[in-house]
Amino acid sequence: LPERELASPRPDPAVEVTTRMAVGEALAMVPVEQRIAVVLVDVQGYPVAEAAAILEVPVGTVKSRCARGRARLAVLLGHLREECR
């Protein structure tokens, strides 16, 4: 058989799309305030203080919303078992 080229180090686009869809679907199931906090901090990469300024809420509120959102997402994305919801 001819020697195959090494696989590209770039992730499979199908996997990327599937992952994005899964994350999008999971985020849609999270309460909107938690969703916005999680998207700002975890997806968009804003520092918590900056996210708090944008949302005009205390830093602790952003942390709390992120915590609850991530906890729910951890289950929805399969990182924790269903019983944890």
Binding site: E16, T19, R20, V23, G24, E25, L27, A28, V32, R35, I36, V38, V39, L40, D42, V43, Q44, G45, Y46, P47, V48, E50, I54, L55, G60, K63, S64, C66, A67, R68, R70, A71, L73, A74, L77, H79, L80, R81, E82, E83, C84, R85
Partner: protein
């Protein structure tokens, strides 16, 4: 977290929801330092807690790996038309418009963030409802160099860059006139007349939060080269 000891649970028991929230708050740095230190100490001794913290870390990593979807050009065009339909500010008001414009940017960003979190279809649907159909392109805005920053701030979200709407052409243009800006993300742009000379103002993200790179090039800028009319970094 509650006061159950690690020994009271088997390795296959699911985490208690209260524990999960408590650990998520610990993971998010919510408790005060003394409480957090005690919580981390407890978590280190509890394999289930460690598993939950690992799951939360994996969740954050998965969220962080999601790339933002590209804004469809049709949506960008509708935004541009909607922003162009806003009443124009006199030149003297441009500086005072910066703060409100920044707030509008944040709010606009939030709408996109919220919609993006619900899926790209949501973005298209929401913007389609909220913005009018595209009309004729507005005339180039006459600006002077001292106004560039104020104009740039209000340009974020606008996409009226003529032929530079083509990412390949834009990259080739920047490569020719300002190689250091090639990798910078376009936040907005508009056709301008800068001190009497036609150009295209591009607002680029520097990669630093709040940082902007404002670049003005000639409208014909592309693979064959072009002219850099002005550039300024903000933040």
């Amino acid at each position: 977290m509650n006061d159950r000891t690690p020994e009271s649970r088997g390795p296959d028991d699911p985490a208690d929801p209260d524990d999960l929230i408590g650990l998520a708050e610990l993971d998010a740095d919510l408790p005060d330092p003394a409480e957090a230190a005690a919580g981390r100490h407890d978590a280190r001794a509890d394999p289930r807690a460690a598993e939950v913290l690992d799951a939360l870390a994996a969740t954050r990593a998965e969220l962080g790996a999601v790339e933002e979807p590209e804004l469809p050009s049709a949506v960008a065009a509708r935004w541009a038309a909607a922003l162009a339909a806003e009443p124009a500010l006199p030149q003297d008001d441009l500086r005072t418009a910066v703060r409100p414009a920044r707030r509008r940017l944040f709010r606009r960003h939030l709408v996109v963030v919220a919609a993006a979190a619900a899926g790209v279809v949501g973005v298209v649907g929401a913007v389609g409802v909220l913005t009018p159909r595209p009309g004729p392109a507005p005339p180039p805005l006459a600006v002077s160099r001292v106004d560039l920053v104020a104009v740039a701030t209000s340009t974020v979200g606008t996409m009226d860059v003529g032929a530079l709407d083509d990412p390949a052409r834009r990259a080739a243009c920047l490569r020719a006139v300002l190689p250091g800006a090639v990798g910078e993300r376009l936040l907005g742009g508009r056709r301008v007349v800068l001190d009497g000379r036609h150009g295209v103002l591009l607002v680029l993200a520097t990669g630093t939060r709040g940082g902007l790179h404002v670049v003005t090039v000639d409208p014909e800028c592309g693979p064959a080269g072009g002219a850099l009319l002005a550039q300024v970094r903000v933040g």
